[in-house]
Symmetry: C2
Subunit: 471 residues, 2 copies
Amino acid sequence: MLELTIELKTGSAKCLYEQIYEHIRKEIKEGKLLQGERLPSTRLLAENLQVARSTVELAYEQLLSEGYIESQPYRGYFVSKVEELFRLEGKKEKDIGKTTLKEAFSTDVDYIYDFSPTQIDMSRFPFSVWRKLHKNVLSDGNEKLYAQGNARGDYGLRENIARYLHASRGVNCTPEQIIVGAGNDYLLMLLEKILGPQIPIAMENPTYKRAYQIFQSFGYPITTVDMDENGMRVEELRKIDVRLVYVMPSHQYPTGVVMPIGRRGELLKWANEQADRYLIEDDYDSEFRYKGKPIPSLQASDKNDRVIYIGTFSKSIAPAIRVSYMVLPMKLVETYERKCAFYSTTVSRIEQKILDEFIREGYFERHLNKMRKCYKDKHDYMLELLEDFKKCFIITGENAGLHLLLTSKKNVSEETLIELAKLQGVKVYGLSESYVGGRNKENRGTVILGYGGMSKQEIEEGIQALRKAWL
Amino acid sequence: MLELTIELKTGSAKCLYEQIYEHIRKEIKEGKLLQGERLPSTRLLAENLQVARSTVELAYEQLLSEGYIESQPYRGYFVSKVEELFRLEGKKEKDIGKTTLKEAFSTDVDYIYDFSPTQIDMSRFPFSVWRKLHKNVLSDGNEKLYAQGNARGDYGLRENIARYLHASRGVNCTPEQIIVGAGNDYLLMLLEKILGPQIPIAMENPTYKRAYQIFQSFGYPITTVDMDENGMRVEELRKIDVRLVYVMPSHQYPTGVVMPIGRRGELLKWANEQADRYLIEDDYDSEFRYKGKPIPSLQASDKNDRVIYIGTFSKSIAPAIRVSYMVLPMKLVETYERKCAFYSTTVSRIEQKILDEFIREGYFERHLNKMRKCYKDKHDYMLELLEDFKKCFIITGENAGLHLLLTSKKNVSEETLIELAKLQGVKVYGLSESYVGGRNKENRGTVILGYGGMSKQEIEEGIQALRKAWL
């Protein structure tokens, strides 16, 4: 077996597992480690390097996930075959679905600051409350929670969600209309089974790319509809032949546009003109609004059973909470019963019960209020720090959510902005990524700056680095 | 608001919530409670009846789930409109997907003994170990588990599953080939996205009806293939034009047939004759084999990357554990990466970690050994008690799984057997339910007797009641 000598720097910006990962990756790329060669076991390497075994495991996991090494049951870890590696490398450039494994690591290897729009702040999560609820729920006498629950989710939780949605988002529904599932992606899969195959759908452009990919994987014919400052242009929607529209009226991703009541009315009117039209309302991030009074959901204005409402606890509580909810119009509840009620629930009763208690005991409301304040602080701080950027940039998407948009006034391209930021060790995200067709039509580059997962200190340093890069 | 007077009998075979449920249901059916009428709150009714509030909640939940009453946020519970009720009642008879809510209750209202083939024994579940693992996993320093994990499932768990499957089922795979998901139903949904729409599939007949319903909801053209004592008849399979076959070679549900090596070879040969043919192996119940040496999976004999292997922890640990795994052939791993890698994981990292520790620390193996012994005891006891049934019945499906089949030697029909058992308060299940097309072609009635969820005492009493019914 191979021996690895890696010089580890403590106090480096890069943490230990990253150093191990990068060292081995380099050796493989340079051909110093040969294909098929066996790596030392995680235990042995950890001993040799005097680090925790979990550190080596993290490094190996990253290498595995990127295809540099492979594991063979009972034999250990081996350097992957080279052709395989090149193939993986080549694929990465164009592969739209490549992000998942990389995303598992909170910071990209080459960056010091990452303004990711998808990260949230977990530092204020009420870990001890969560532990206590776990303990209570798992205590004696609750054995029935180990049984499989209702396909739609346990009644108590659904009742609780109905109450919360009514109070906070104006959603009108009974618990019967709610389906609880393990994440939005799953609920959209289930929705496909309810609505049927091949349904022509319209989406905003730019839009939430993951939803786009999902509808694409359904084989739904997708038409994008351009937006103005009030959201999707309904007169454009009228020119195309679709039955289904996916919108984010409360806070559109990524533009941050809030759809005013007039446009909502137009959209609902369009939906009501034919019997089989529906609007999917993804109420993403609606919990976090910092200015003006909260805007009720589109579902709240719907008098004709046309809105399919989707929301999640993954963003408002923690990504590990794989619990989302879908509110079906009554007509579709019946279709669900007929066509899909045999699908088993994807959420354990134990997890449902913990969440149920978290809401019922008032912890959820308190947590939301705390997080709203926390994100508002970061949001205000961002805007303050960006004051001198205004001579070169138009700032939009403020007052809600977890990100801002900066558009160059000087026609600097998105690629250039990203590249200049990268040279300062800062990761920012191009608006083009959210465009179907891959490109923002405007010449002026727009980048997304997420602040949810960054501390105020990191925000300050990151913006300072961007100042060097762009101003 | 309405006042309800319900006479509750303690010491009755029916528990309190059932009595409340039945009383209210009867009143509604007889028109004594009028549509739109408001029911007392659960708190009030519980006070009046001097029972726990949760008892009333259970009764209301059952009424709600069956559509007799409705809940309105902030207003309370109301008797449903009558037309609605009749519609629900009428639908029930033919509705194939109706079972989910009823199944949430462990015993049907009208039965004393329920030989359900889907129940498992939770009395030996290591609750305290499970609690301890929860506590450890949620302890300080594990905050990263609250982040969203790898789309395929966390690497450690997948590695652990690969090791377990190799050791116990002969499955050959790397962790890269494994996808962890919230239940078999979800994994089949994901598989549809990998394989594509409209794929002609063959299934055994009789078969596992839920899988049939799922493929039907995909719009897959399904052809059934008859079985002989060795399982699916491959010469029949050759007469039809399908690309995909769903089989349960280790212990077919419901027949209990174990596919011998010869037939497996034929099936693998069929699959290998065309580039795009695959076999889905549902390795359902394979953990529980009581006689003869354990039979490796079909995947273990597959040299050509043709078997998609699916298994679950819901049955081997607890139904609340919504964790299943799918082992993809390498070719399909690539398709998954290309087409589906953006789908977020449906299982929380916390739950994955607990399961990971449960397996890693040896608890899973110990639990399986304990349960194998527990189920073997019940199985042997069943066979012993059924000795005198052999003059009238052929007993099959023994030596594995959690149920037996009894076929009448005297041409008594399935319906008659079920009806006679019902008169003695015993629920047994007709084999016809598992037949696509709804009927067993044979004249001789066959019923399924599941013993997983019953105590030995209940088994003894239940069989005694069946003796009265049938002999």
